[in-house]
Symmetry: C2
């Protein structure tokens, strides 16, 4: 299957799973659930769940086995976007070409929609109805990896550092550290949980972790580049906002051309990390190219 | 051991465990972790962790075995207070006699401190370093119970309903439903996780669940009463705020005296639910009295 069909196909599977697992926006909680649904189904790229599915498949697992974990990853990613967009945080009005959650439902509802999505991720990860052939020990290990990647040591910590760094002098090393936590940690965790689902041995788990970590860096460099080179139509959100906020970015440190070179080199290193894996890891290799060449 | 000594003793144990498990506020993340520490150690009653420990002990488990779960419950409770106090939510300036988290650290930092505490709870619950003799299956079941009690079906959903109901006509039944989610669910989950830690059989698990549910109701009725009858010094936060906000409360529906009667009856029902348990459940019985007679 070529990568385009693979992406379309896997995304379709994930959309169906998200719709299946997520509580329906009805009954007494309809308003709250509607706010959660809105951001979850506003049209994300589904990068993290796709990586989870692809990593599991690369280890020989059936893709269905990865779906609950894949969806939980997307819940957590979505919660982080809702909270990042809040007036007290980045104060963004647009996300994926649509009004941000708090623009649609108000600030209180948006905070709670984020809280709800984060919590429901762990509900899904531990749900006895979605065991999908994983042992309790495997599920527990996945929960720990994802929680660690999402919390103070990972994504939340990265966002705290990012906000603190805004408008201040920083260094490229500090920027790398912030991005590693804010974006890299959950992307790495997505690949790692796929590896556990596919029962990767220690050596393969290490290779996939390295791949995930490097892919996370690439993802963020490309994000920074797109914030300069893209149009609001392509990106679905404001462009040039990093510069206005004097945010530390790769292009701000390295210039645009050198940033592109860096992204290219990093993605090649990510692919090199998979050298010992056979062609069952081809989709992961192609996904790395996709992350490099994406336009939104 | 009388209940006063038991509370002092257990609280001490929990304080030590919280200090041990929680990341130290140092290094690059010092500011973020300081905000988390502030609310965690500002002096809570530790009702949920105490209930977890006491339920585990009532089932014959060593109290130490309950500590990681007990602390995770307190993380989640603390996160919920931080987010509830936010300007977009209840907009409270005081909590436990001290400035609320966002008053101390700003709104963005407070949102992230809450997000961090919620996530780190699941990190702790799944931490391979804090297994304390529980099987992976038992830990997974505890995670699911706590996540479910904290998310849209529980606490977050209750808070969403509570905000939506503010200033609107409501009914006593609706109020009960909101409180059952907002406060009752996590209190019930605290007792239930203690029951799992103590390897309660199905019958005892059901009895403890019933006890937790009724205790949660009592807790909320007493909260509503204290909001009227207490002083700010005793309560550590503004009193009379429910009336100002026209919040639906038990006293607003039933009057103060009838609310007290209701609290008394409910706590007796909670104790009655423990009828089949021996005197190893005495601390749970006394805790029920404590919930009824507390002054803050």
């Amino acid at each position: 299957m070529d990568i385009k069909s693979y992406l379309t196909d896997t995304r379709q599977l994930i959309e169906e799973a998200l719709a299946q697992y997520m509580l329906k926006p009805e009954g007494i909680l309809a308003d709250h659930l509607t706010a959660m649904h809105y951001s979850l189904f506003v049209g994300g790229k589904r990068v993290r769940p796709i990586l989870c599915v692809a990593a599991a498949e690369a280890m020989g697992a059936e893709r269905k086995k990865a779906l609950p974990v894949a969806c939980a990853l997307e819940y957590i990613h979505t919660y982080s976007l809702i909270h990042d967009d809040l007036p007290a945080m980045d104060n963004d009005d647009l996300r994926r070409g649509k009004p941000t959650n708090h623009k649609m439902f108000g600030e209180a509802a948006a905070i709670l929609a984020g809280d709800g999505l984060l919590t429901v991720a762990f509900e899904l990860l531990s749900d006895p109805g979605h065991e999908v052939g994983l042992s309790a020990a495997e599920r527990l290990r996945i929960i720990h990896i994802i929680a660690r990647a999402s919390g103070p040591s990972g994504m939340v910590g990265g966002q705290a550092l990012d906000l603190a760094a805004e408008g201040r002098e920083t260094s490229l090393d500090k920027l790398k550290d912030i991005h590693g936590r804010k974006t890299g940690a959950l992307i790495t965790a997505s690949v790692q949980s796929g590896a556990i689902i596919g029962r990767a041995d220690e050596r393969k788990f290490a290779a996939l972790s390295e791949y995930g970590m490097l892919l996370g860096i690439t993802f963020q460099i490309v994000d920074d580049i797109l914030n300069i080179t893209s149009t609001p139509e392509q990106l679905g959100k404001a462009v040039g906002s990093d510069a206005v906020r004097k945010k530390a970015t790769y292009p701000a440190f390295l210039g645009l051309e050198e940033s592109k070179t860096r992204a290219y080199e990093t993605v090649n290193a990510a692919i090199a990390a998979l050298a010992d894996l056979g062609n069952e890891a081809d989709h992961l290799r192609e996904l790395a190219h996709y992350v490099l060449t994406r336009t939104r």
